[in-house]
Symmetry: C2
């Protein structure tokens, strides 16, 4: 049985577009609907309860489009809300933490794995838990990099400021013996070249985005839900904040025009 319902992908802002780009590349037949909650980004510094509530609101919004799969393309939201959402909906729900953890676990030779992410992701311990669940002998070194997401949300991917921020943030990690580093935030692939330059050649970078796209493919196949259409699908994007910046970053990153609908939350969020 083949079905052509969309894959729904959500994120706090533009970070999940790294997952979108990889899904478009690895699964060009799949139709995507995307929600970037730019009005309330970043999620990283927010309390877990609030991130959980925001994520549930977006899931409710997207579910009306009858997706065949939900992708929580935000590490912070995955860390706090994935398991609850998995138990609440009848379609498969994919987060970005387990794919990265599984890829790192498969590729590390030394078993010493670094993870960088937002404060919320690192505080949750979700990567340690996923990596230890796979193999108790994994050693995990975690580091919060709160200065990365604001750079990306401003579209500042390559500048002297970006290089200096990355270099200063990763300094302590460079002293450690890790052989694999998980980019534990979907915003970080925007900075991958700089992170790679700073960390040096011997370190394998694992992108949540690449690995999540691969797992989406695996699960759709296992569940007999892959699209089989030959014409290219038309994707659709929603964002809750100012649409201009979102559209500009999305089109630059994806290399094509996008179809965007701004969404205004009915109950404004008071921070």
């Amino acid at each position: 049985m083949y079905v052509q319902e969309p894959i729904a992908i959500l994120d706090s802002g533009v970070g999940g577009l790294t997952v979108v780009k990889e899904v478009m590349r690895q699964l060009p037949r799949e139709k995507i609907i995307y929600f970037g909650d730019t009005a309330r980004a970043p999620y990283g510094p927010r309390p877990a309860e609030e991130v959980h509530r925001f994520t549930s609101e977006i899931v409710h919004y997207l579910i009306q489009y009858r997706p065949k799969m939900l992708v929580i393309a935000c590490n912070t939201a995955t860390a706090v809300a994935l398991e609850d959402i998995r138990s609440c909906v009848s379609i498969p729900v994919v987060g970005v933490i387990h794919p990265g953890a599984r890829a790192a676990n498969g590729r590390t030779q030394t078993g010493i794995i670094g993870v960088i992410g937002t404060e919320g992701t690192i505080r949750s311990g979700a990567y340690e838990q996923a990596l230890k669940q796979l193999s108790s002998s994994n050693e995990v070194i975690s580091l919060a990099c709160p200065r990365f997401v604001p750079l990306v949300e401003k579209g500042n991917f390559r500048s002297e400021e970006t290089y200096e921020t990355v270099r200063e943030s990763l300094e302590s990690l460079k002293q450690r013996q890790l052989d694999t580093l998980i980019l534990g935030c979907t915003h970080y692939p925007f900075l991958a070249d700089t992170i790679s330059e700073v960390m040096g050649k011997g370190i394998t970078l694992i992108s949540s985005a690449d690995e999540t796209a691969r797992e989406i493919s695996t699960i759709l196949y296992d569940r007999n839900r892959m699209a089989s259409n030959n014409e290219l699908p038309v994707h659709h994007f929603f964002c809750s904040g100012e649409p201009g910046m979102f559209k500009s970053i999305a089109q630059q990153w994806l290399g094509e025009q996008i179809d965007l609908t701004p969404v205004v939350w009915q109950v404004p969020n008071i921070v």
Copy 2:
């Protein structure tokens, strides 16, 4: 819900042990039962109908141990029997072709992907089909290497004869512009060092074994079926042929003693 039923892995002979080794490494908590049909190996040159029948017989044999998942760790058997077996049993069935295809599709930059395998696997066109299903722009170059499996089944992994056989077999492939090469037979990781040396540095080798172990992990997680025990599981092996050679290769490859039960097919196979 966590369950501790075994993962059942089957192969024509010792090739599937490359998958076993990766499952042991990536998922050390999972209990494995393995069947190597060494009395009837290799499957590669046999007619599809016969491979299909043999595979079904092994599935019937293994299913009595109530596995939570079946892994067809033989490319030839996957090519001819996977879809039928998926539709006949209620547990997930994982083959080795789609994991390799998905990994290659995710990693190629040029979209030109090489596949080496047995005559049966290459003749089936299963890799082309899987790679084109993912993305119609993939270009696939396939080559049967019938001389590789007999070397591995004899335990002849590194010798002048092995090097020469690999070099001669891959000569035509070296002229092509591929950037990714799928080892489309579970026996081939035994020869990976030699294949890598012959093909040169610029080519990414994709091992069915590594990638299948990763997908087993993804699917068990998606279906809430991962083992959570802390004590290491005891695996069990069956083989239909002479047990001495099987045990010797298995223990050398896995680096540990194995618990082996020889199985005699009640209806002898007349070739």
